[in-house]
């Protein structure tokens, strides 16, 4: 759906097309039908069309408060302990290739905990004994 929208007041006068400084508006007349066309990539969102429209037909708010479009959807890897979202499978493959290692899927917290658990055990009993506690 276009972010450039007009209401029922539009009578196809083309004032907006004539006055768009970014050449973002065009029209086509075909089979007794006039179609107004808008290019979002050219649009500078300057509001000139909205200012100039004699019919007050342009609903410029859609160019200011447009919704979000989905761009790409990828499979995710989550932390294997707490399920926090980490990165995409594609990212994992790229990193695995570059690091020549897959590693475990862990969030920063659980990666830290895992690393701590692998440290050589410094027995509390040993420390206490050294300090003379029983």
């Amino acid at each position: 759906m276009s972010y450039f929208r007009v209401n029922d007041n539009c009578n196809g006068c083309l004032a907006c097309v004539e006055n768009c400084p970014a050449s973002a508006l065009r029209f086509s007349d075909r089979d007794n039908r006039r179609t107004l066309k808008h290019s979002m990539t050219k649009c500078a969102r300057c509001g000139q069309c909205w200012r100039i429209c004699p019919q007050k037909a342009i609903e410029f708010q859609h160019l200011l408060e447009g919704s979000w479009d989905d761009v790409v959807t990828l499979d995710m890897i989550r932390c294997q302990v707490c399920s926090e979202p980490l990165y995409s499978t594609v990212y994992l493959q790229k990193m695995a290739g570059e690091l020549n290692s897959t590693g475990e899927a862990l969030c920063p917290l659980h990666r830290q905990r895992q690393a701590a658990s692998k440290l050589p055990a410094v027995g509390l009993a040993r420390v206490c004994a050294k300090l003379g506690y029983k």
């Binding site: 768009c20 400084p21 970014a22 050449s23 050219k42 500078a44 300057c46 000139q48 200012r51």
Partner: protein
């Protein structure tokens, strides 16, 4: 936004007359919005310049294009093609855009079609006024959101001069006295005590007096994109 005005046609004609094929290149940002250098203006200028009566001898061949921002080097390098045979670019960007193009396409001549005039805002349709000098040390918090550097003809820092008459500047026209506006605004804001503060001499080194300024955003650039 950056505001610019198209140069007089005679100056443009004089600048391009030695070239055979000129790319007229609009800029899709500030100068599009202030209706002086966008794609439409580029097309219009190209049409005007093609009319033989403007040119002694044969006019150059014109190609027309536009890019979102001429002032970003990587964007220009990646996305702006120069048509084969082009021997000059006529840029409708601000001075920043012209210089970036000249750097990127060196040694191709890049000719400015606009005079870059000021940093301004549009207070009403079709009218832009200067609002900011880019002085590098903003004091708008003290002056009710009205800049005395940009909007006082003398850039006075501590109140109006004797040329402030009836709320207007002695320079003439219908220019309001910025300091009259500031005092009125501060009164409305119940912040008139800001006016009593004496500002020290301004440090213009932040405003360009110490040479061209540069901003580096740590974490961007090096290694990520071409420089």
């Amino acid at each position: 936004m950056i505001v610019g005005d198209l140069k007089p046609r005679a100056e443009i004609v004089s600048a391009i007359k030695e070239y055979k094929q000129v790319l007229v290149l609009g800029c899709g940002s500030c100068v599009t919005v202030c209706l002086s250098g966008g794609e439409r203006e580029a097309e219009q200028l190209s049409r005007e310049l093609s009319q033989i009566r403007h040119i002694h001898g044969a006019p150059p061949k014109f190609e027309v294009g536009s890019i979102l921002r001429q002032c970003e080097r990587d964007l220009v390098i990646e996305y702006q093609d120069i048509p084969p045979g082009t021997d000059a670019v006529l840029s409708l960007a601000c001075g920043a855009g012209v210089q970036v193009l000249a750097d990127v396409f060196e040694p191709l001549p890049v000719i400015p079609a606009l005079n870059t005039t000021f940093l301004g805002g549009s207070d009403k349709p079709g009218e832009w006024t200067e609002k900011c000098k880019g002085c590098g040390d903003c004091i708008l918090i003290q002056t009710g959101g009205i800049c005395p550097i940009a909007r006082c003809a003398k850039s006075l820092f501590n109140g109006p001069c004797g040329g402030s008459q009836g709320g207007f500047c002695e320079v003439g026209g219908s220019r309001p006295c910025a300091w009259t506006q500031i005092v009125a605004r501060l009164k409305k804001m119940d912040r008139l005590h800001h006016y009593e503060k004496i500002n020290a001499t301004k440090d213009w080194t932040k405003g360009g007096a110490a040479g061209p300024r540069k901003r580096v955003r740590i974490g961007l650039g090096d290694g990520n994109k071409r420089n």
